[in-house]
């Protein structure tokens, strides 16, 4: 704009310059928005074409199935408590799959995260391969490992537990190592100077600093894992998901048991979510947070 070196740009120049820039930016935003809208519409159209039942016919029937389930459950409401008792062990199995998987996964992730953090790893060359391994573990959907393990080990809760635990190692390992990077290295150096082993340096020097964050992340994972465990049950890995699939396959007229399972699963997820968010709030904000009047 400024042709001569000795004159500063006039206010009018700045103004036109600014407006031109704004126009260009707005133009770019419009184009991006248009591309996005086209992608959404085209994507929806493609998905609709590829679906067995179309959206425009289906949405009117969207409530048919819930209505059947609710209707039948309401009709035979007196049977529901019995079903709750009947399916409680399955629910417990689903929760146990998630619980054990989270615990095992978190313990392995703890070690892996130390190995993947610069400054904490006992050997520098370990960092890159451990990180890649965690990336891969995170990228594999649980169902892939679970289906293969079901083929090898037969059905039941163990394949689901291993599958979820492996994914948990990947997910938590990354989060843990991010937490580790913020940990102070002074305690580690202190322990090293007294001749503490690597294990001692980590357990006594790092873990006390990062434990609240670890716990908070692990609780969040537990919430996610309960859902995953129910889904894996649905493909044959035991627990309440498996029962849900069976009761669903009995078809119309027998949906009252499915309704009981829906309710159990819903209640379990809500309760675990609430409990875990309560504890996570306490971990991150301390006791005082609750006293200030924050609810859950």
């Amino acid at each position: 704009m400024t042709s001569a070196a000795d004159t500063a740009p006039s206010p009018a120049d700045i103004r036109t310059d600014y407006l031109a820039q704004m126009r260009q930016k707005r133009m770019l935003n419009m184009i991006l928005l248009l591309i996005f809208a086209t992608l959404m519409v085209a994507g929806f159209y493609t998905a609709d074409q590829r679906n067995a039942g179309g959206f425009w016919n289906g949405w009117r029937h969207i409530l048919d199935f819930p209505a059947d389930v609710v209707g039948e459950a309401y009709e035979r409401a007196n049977l529901l408590p019995g079903y709750f008792v009947k399916y409680l062990p399955s629910l417990l199995e689903t929760i146990n799959i998630a619980g054990a998987a989270t615990l095992i996964g978190a313990m392995l992730a703890l070690v892996a995260s130390m190995l993947a953090t610069r400054g904490l790893a006992p050997a520098g060359w370990l960092i890159a391969p451990v990180r890649r391994l965690l990336d891969i573990l995170r990228a594999v959907p649980e169902i892939v490992i679970a289906l293969v393990l079901i083929f090898l080990l037969g059905g039941g809760p163990v394949p689901a537990m291993i599958a979820i635990a492996l994914h948990t190692v990947g997910a938590l390992g990354k989060l843990f190592s991010e937490v580790n990077e913020n940990a102070s290295l002074k305690p580690v150096e202190g322990l090293a100077s007294t001749g503490g082993s690597w294990m001692q340096q980590m357990m006594l020097g790092v873990v006390p600093q990062v434990a609240p964050n670890y716990l908070s992340y692990a609780l969040l994972r537990f919430e996610i894992n309960i859902r995953a465990s129910a889904i894996l049950g649905f493909v044959g890995a035991g627990g309440i998901g498996y029962d849900l699939r069976n009761t669903m396959s009995w078809g119309q007229g027998k949906f009252d048991e499915a309704a009981a399972i829906f309710l159990l699963l819903f209640a379990a997820i809500i309760i675990v979510d609430q409990l875990s968010s309560y504890f996570r709030n306490r971990l991150t904000h301390g006791k005082a947070y609750k006293d200030k009047g924050a609810v859950l």
């Binding site: 959404m40 679906n51 179309g54 949405w59 969207i62 615990l103 990228a139 293969v148 889904i231």
Partner: protein, 430 residues
């Protein structure tokens, strides 16, 4: 507080902490023991199927070619993996099989088999086994001495496992399996003229269109279908994630304290989010697949419903944390309410929302694989189908690798987009 009291309090606190450090591992151990007993982990050793494991591993890195002689009509056929799709055209065979009245099959290390009325297997270092299947069973003669453990012979069936090959003779058919490393027919099937050509030959032939279409329509590996399935999975994640974000944004305003003074409305919006999240993707998938049938649309809508709940919660929290000063500043210039939202609120929350949404895009690619396996669509469906047939394990491995690559690609793509968009916007937070 006196010194003594302070010491006592510190002592108690230390004891409590010490108890806790001891108790926590003990509780964890007790819980894991209980779970392992409940899941019967000890009995796992009996349940694990070693033969299945062997099939899975060996199928992943090798394939076998079947040479089959029908003993009733004497017809001989050669087929890769014994599948129709991998059958050699009538009268042709790989160079280690010589088709004639008595077909000769050459194996590794100088061993060979001749298939005819009488089958003979010449095994270097052992001798020749001959077998004649007839009405009374399989009459086999072996070199003198005890049968080695790799020969399994009974009246009706003789099975010999040799170096990289296997011979099975029954009354109805004589079958030779020869094992090779790699994935069979990955690029071209046998009916393609390009099968068995080297890369330089293909490059110099100039028929790129035909080469591509033969590869793309490969009946064995179905590259076109696989690519489409991957696309469908990504599509489910894309539609679900961004659809949910678009629905959740206005609802998020309803649930935020500083934008919705009406308590009951706020309460209702929050309970809707809790409900959507609590019902969970699994149940939404089941409910929706009843209405829409299997397919990518069902998967997209299931992801959309679940994530509307999640995003609604995250968005409303982000909205409650916006800085009022910016809105006041916009209002002081005489902006109308809509303009206040557009220029006062949206720039503040865009980075938070975008980074959350893009983060979920990656995680939803995984969910879409799982939902596809349940409701039928995308790569999840192909994977479950390949596993159910229990024989195409090389395809299972292939799909698993593709799924991992797909998720990693989505991960880096969403990370890239996050950096670009959030830095590119430049407004609001840094």
């Amino acid at each position: 507080m006196t010194d003594a009291a302070t010491y006592a309090a510190a002592d108690r606190s230390l004891t409590r902490k010490r108890m806790f450090t001891l108790a926590a591992p003990a509780v964890i151990l007790a819980y894991l023991t209980y779970v392992f007993v409940a899941f019967d982990v000890a009995g796992l050793a009996d349940r694990v199927s070693l033969s299945n494991m062997q099939t899975l591993v060996s199928d992943t890195y090798s394939y076998k070619v079947h040479v089959t002689r029908d003993n009733r009509d004497g017809a001989t056929s050669v087929a890769i993996e014994g599948e129709r799709k991998g059958e050699y055209p009538e009268g042709t065979a790989p160079d280690w099989v010589t088709l004639a009245d008595t077909t000769r099959v050459d194996l590794a290390n100088g061993a060979f088999i001749t298939l005819g009325e009488t089958t003979s297997f010449d095994i270097p270092g052992y001798g020749t086994v001959t077998a004649t299947p007839g009405r009374s069973g399989v009459n086999a003669t072996f070199p003198p001495g005890d049968l080695p453990e790799w020969i399994n012979a009974s009246k009706n069936r003789v099975a010999i496992t040799a170096d990289g090959a296997r011979l099975t003779i029954t009354r109805n058919r004589t079958e030779v399996f020869r094992y090779f490393y790699g994935w069979e027919l990955f690029f071209f099937t046998l009916d393609s003229p390009f099968h068995g050509k080297s890369v330089t030959e293909l490059l110099s032939s100039g028929q790129y269109g035909a080469i591509w279409s033969d590869f793309w329509s490969n009946k064995m590996w179905r590259h076109a279908d696989v690519a489409w399935a991957l696309f469908e999975t990504v599509l489910m994640a894309f539609l679900g994630t961004f659809g949910a974000a678009m629905i959740a944004l206005p609802l998020g305003f309803l649930a935020a304290k500083n934008f919705t003074p009406l308590g009951s409305l706020r309460f209702a919006a929050r309970r809707v989010f809790d409900f959507l999240r609590g019902v969970d993707g699994l149940i939404w998938t089941i409910v929706l697949s009843r209405a829409f049938g299997p397919g990518p649309l069902t998967g997209s809508l299931a992801i959309m419903l679940t994530d509307t709940g999640t995003f609604g919660k995250i968005f409303s929290e982000a909205l409650e944390n916006v800085d009022d000063k910016q809105i006041e500043g916009i209002a002081s210039t005489g902006a109308k309410p809509l303009q206040r939202y557009r220029f006062g609120v949206i720039p503040q929350i865009t980075p938070v929302l975008l980074s959350q949404v893009l983060y979920y895009l990656e995680s939803n690619t995984r969910s879409a694989t799982i939902i596809g396996a349940i409701t039928g669509g995308g790569i999840g469906l192909m994977l479950t189908q390949a596993i159910i047939t229990q024989k195409d394990w090389e395809e299972v491995s292939y799909y698993i690798i593709l799924i991992i690559l797909m998720v990693m690609a989505m991960d880096s793509f969403s990370g890239w987009l996050r950096r670009r968009l959030i830095q590119g916007t430049g407004e609001g937070t840094h």
